[in-house]
Amino acid sequence: MANISFTIKYWKQNGPKDKGHFDTHEMKNIPDDTSFLEMLDILNEELISAGKEPFVFDHDCREGICGMCSLYINGTPHGKTERGATTCQLYMRKFKNGDTITVEPWRSAGFPVIKDCMVDRTAFDKIMQAGGYTTVRTGQPQDANAILIPKADADEAMDCASCIGCGACVAACKNGSAMLFVSSKVSQLALLPQGKVEAARRAKNMIAKMDELGFGNCTNTRACEAVCPKCETISNIARLNREFIKAKLAD
């Protein structure tokens, strides 16, 4: 274990209409087993004791499952974490003494800035409300084996369902496209018999809402899957395309 000193360059912005700018702060002797968010807590302690306004950023569970943390660190959403981890699981040992660390918010028209690096991701909730669920009445609990599901499908659906909706895919995409998120949410249901009943309506409604909210068109650059903290793949996007085209052709 060692301590490192570095310069942090962080984005300050008062609301969606403000132009925004970077502020910098020298961080001294930070233990390298500090997590990135703990480091930002230290930054805020120092800012507050110096009588300055603290830096605003989203965070909640700090164990990689809630999808709240959303920082664009040195050009990568969530920073260069271990594969499959969010900002909260990024540690200062990934940085070197004397580095300049640039922290930016998710930049996308679909995610307006609330303050500094906190962005409004309500758009994802709206897409979910448009069809990311089943309306099947479950009734009496059935026997567990009443509906047979192949293990491979169940596993794949579970992988799709592990999407935490953090928005890193949108942040990484040069087109501001939300296709990886939407496709994971469509896939987690499309793969299972219970979800197939409403598959066509779901794909059409969720895509219509996604387009309406101003997300871009996917051009298959794969930047989304490269940064996804839950390792979602563009196979999901192909599945969504398939579901959507099938639904439209059936109309």
Binding site: N74, S108, T219
Partner: protein
Amino acid sequence: MWLINSSIGRKVVMSVTGIALVLFLTFHASMNVVALISAEGYNMICEFLGANWYAVVATLGLAALVALHFIFAIWLTLQNRKARGNNRYAVTDKPALVEWSSQNMLVLGIIVILGMGLHLYNFWYNMMYAELVHDPEMIAMATNGVYHIAKTFSCPVYTVIYMVWLAALWFHLNHGIWSSMQTLGWSGHIWFNRWKMIGTIYTTVIILMFAAVALAFAFGYVPCDMQAPACGGCLLG
């Protein structure tokens, strides 16, 4: 109309027009290779196509495909820039997984279109157009395709421009082929890798076919049966 109103629909238009254009390129490349084997054979193809009604109809169809592909590309790009928002990132780091060509398809496409302009001027104008307007001076050579190939590639500047053009086309198709299948939904954990490999091989073969003809003529190759002063350059004996 979902092909216009939805993001996936617009991508489907790009995909289908793209695939159609790849099929056209396949036909075009196969035709070109004939010029390496037999000048007479190649000129027969030129005559067969010429300004016959089916060739003119097919050309109009191709023009429509190119126009659709181009207009949708511009439209999608404008929408995507808007979706990105006004603030650009100060620092960006491209993941290793992301192909350079996938993020520069518009630029590559524009290079391809500019090259196509030059290509139409070098060949189409002297061949189909000459027949269509019955230009008395140009008509004599209108179906002599080999003459036009030899003439164009006798100029090194044209040869270099054509090579740059073909390189841009290689990058464009290398991303475009698997991307079009992904858009149509014919992809997944297994087919993604297959399409990527198929795309790279297919693209390389087509581009090599085009490049072989251009380079052969640029370096003085003459088909065996061509009425030329020296047949010494014939590679096929």
